[in-house]
């Protein structure tokens, strides 16, 4: 028995040395938090217009696009990931039924982007440190 424990300890130590650890857990985002983010999160200056220009898929107007971003916060699966450029944590919402993705800053105050992924959920799974499952 003690030999088995010793072997397990060595295995865990080797995994830790190799940088392996338990997969990151998806955040628990309550319904109240979703509603708050969907209602109050803001686009940074000029970003709503720029994002609608670049990601108009399925939207006719700026207002529809903005509403789509907020609807995805309400409907999507919540997860976290790291922005590849800054290394900052972001909060993501991915709606598998529509393929739509909305990203917020981790405090839920800024909408960072909204678009329909042409790779489906493969896109959100491959984001750095993604907790999407």
């Amino acid at each position: 028995m003690s030999r088995l424990i010793a072997l397990l300890s060595v295995a865990l130590l080797l995994l830790a040395v190799a940088g392996c650890s338990a997969p990151p857990q998806a955040p628990a985002v309550s319904s109240a938090e979703r509603e708050k983010y969907a209602a109050e999160a803001q686009w940074a200056p000029g970003q709503l217009e720029a994002h609608f220009q670049k990601h108009p898929q399925g939207y006719g107007t700026l207002e529809e696009y903005d509403r789509g971003a907020r609807d995805t916060i309400l409907k999507g699966t919540a997860f976290t990931y790291l922005d590849r450029e800054s290394g900052q944590g972001h909060l993501g919402f991915y709606d598998g039924s529509s393929g739509r993705f909305t990203a917020l800053t981790l405090d839920g105050r800024r909408i960072a982007t909204h678009f329909r992924s042409d790779q489906g959920d493969r896109y959100v799974r491959q984001l750095p440190e993604s907790t999407y499952r």
Binding site: Q42, A44, P45, G46, Q47, A50, H51, Q53, K54, H55, D83, R84, E85, S86, Q88, H90, F101, A103, T105, D107, R109, R110, A112, T113, F115, S117, D118, Q119, Y123, L127, P128
Partner: protein, 107 residues
């Protein structure tokens, strides 16, 4: 892998910003935008804070006609009051040693 991509993206941005006369800068509120560009990098949106304290919104994209990376759109944020409470903006200001003065911009 992501580190390599980040380094390449940063190099492209540095070159494009140098063309606009910006040598010293910090990025904030960046976000990958899901579009693969030539060279294995991904489109990116965000903001540039310059050493002079000016803020520009940008989108790193690819101009297929010219065959080169572009910042489009690229726009100056004149009124910085919307950013005054933004932690990432303040991190960028600290990174450039700008402190917290002048965050209201020139309207």
């Amino acid at each position: 892998m992501s580190g390599v991509r980040r380094s390449e993206t940063r190099g492209i941005l540095r070159r494009l910003l140098a063309k606009r006369g910006i040598g010293r800068f910090a990025l904030f509120l960046t976000q990958q935008e899901g579009k693969q560009l030539p060279g294995g990098i991904e489109s990116l949106s965000g903001f540039v804070l310059t050493g002079a304290g000016e803020v520009y919104g940008f989108w790193l994209d690819w101009d297929g006609l010219e065959g080169e990376y572009v910042l489009d759109p690229w726009y100056r944020v004149a009124d910085l009051s919307n950013l005054a409470c933004d932690p990432e903006y303040h991190r960028a200001r600290r990174e450039l040693g700008l402190g917290d003065a002048g965050v209201m911009g020139d309207g």
